[in-house]
Symmetry: C2
Subunit: 201 residues, 2 copies
């Protein structure tokens, strides 16, 4: 059976997003990343940048409480924290995108949210720290924080977010159908492998 | 670069051993499983069955203490528990087998022991519980304990053994170059995939 929905979870700097884009091109599927963020922003009333930054963070990192939400946010969510509200809306956008058409979705606990779909393939991409450090500097530039520290902080946020909302451990093989170490296997080879599995497993 | 050493870690009943045998045949490599056990038995003086059963268990499960070891066990290990002694000998056998010739090694923390070899490829095989339960009953027969309980106990022992000796979490993607869910991807397809990666990554 063809896999209609591919979710790609990834360590920061591992090339997961690049692989996801190549997989979407290879399969002729929609690639959901910015567009997912925009749709969540639209449905929540949050700023897209807030959704982008906070959508994969642990709730404890969210300093906004619901009472400070922008006007127009549906009243049914009253009493929820901003983080829980964002999670809930993100979840329903992901479920509806996956229903709509064949697609590749990056991050945001999509592997967990879509775990019961038999037509989905869940992937985790990771890589050696040195490879990732070099990659984030070349992609996003230097910053005051060392690349190693930036990797650590970002991965930690994703891990805490995942644990909080899924009660599973981020990066455990058992959550995914396939995990790949991109610096050893190569970014293109990872993408080719996923495309070929999506077509006939 | 060709990968000369393939380690296969696996959930109980996932088909990891079958995949390992197919990979060894496909690559023309030696397959180390029983032979590893026999060599460890020879070097420790332990009974092969004891090595087979206890070599992947947590130290707490070992009721033997070193003072009850069979005669002929080297005196340098005095003061070590039987479990630690077994681990230490198993480790040195694995290191020396990997040096000797291209091979496939199943379980026994070989991924950790050989983690610094650039010519090694570390794999984790896992599968859905229902698939594994069916498989262990067809391979090893029924027992008084339910298949689900047998899976849980065996995986728990491997997890505790791995955690104790490697200070890493068993089944984390980051420990391996590749992890595969065998019930979805298929046992033959998993083997083919590993053979092809071993040849040219």
């Amino acid at each position: 059976m063809d896999k209609r929905v591919i979710t790609i979870s990834r360590e920061f700097g591992s090339g997961g997003r690049t692989i996801a884009r190549k997989v979407a091109t290879g399969l002729g599927y929609r690639y959901y990343d910015k567009e997912l963020v925009e749709q969540v922003a639209l449905e929540t009333g949050f700023d897209p940048q807030y959704v982008e930054e906070r959508g994969e963070e642990a709730p404890g990192n969210s300093s906004l409480s619901y009472s400070f939400m922008p006007p127009g946010v549906p009243g049914v969510m009253q009493g929820m924290s901003a983080a829980d509200f964002l999670w809930s809306m993100q979840r329903s956008v992901i479920l509806s995108l996956a229903d709509k058409e064949p697609c590749v979705i990056v991050g945001r606990c999509a592997d967990f949210i879509l775990r019961d779909r038999a037509d989905s393939l869940h992937i985790f991409i990771h890589a050696d720290d040195a490879f990732r450090a070099k990659r984030i500097v070349s992609l996003y530039g230097e910053s005051e924080t060392s690349p190693e520290k930036r990797l650590q902080e970002k991965d930690r946020k994703r891990m805490l977010n995942y644990r909080h909302y899924t009660h599973r451990e981020w990066g455990m093989c058992q959550n995914y159908h396939l995990s790949l170490r991109s610096d050893v296997i190569g970014i293109d080879r990872c993408a080719d492998l996923i495309v070929s599995l999506a077509k006939d497993v």
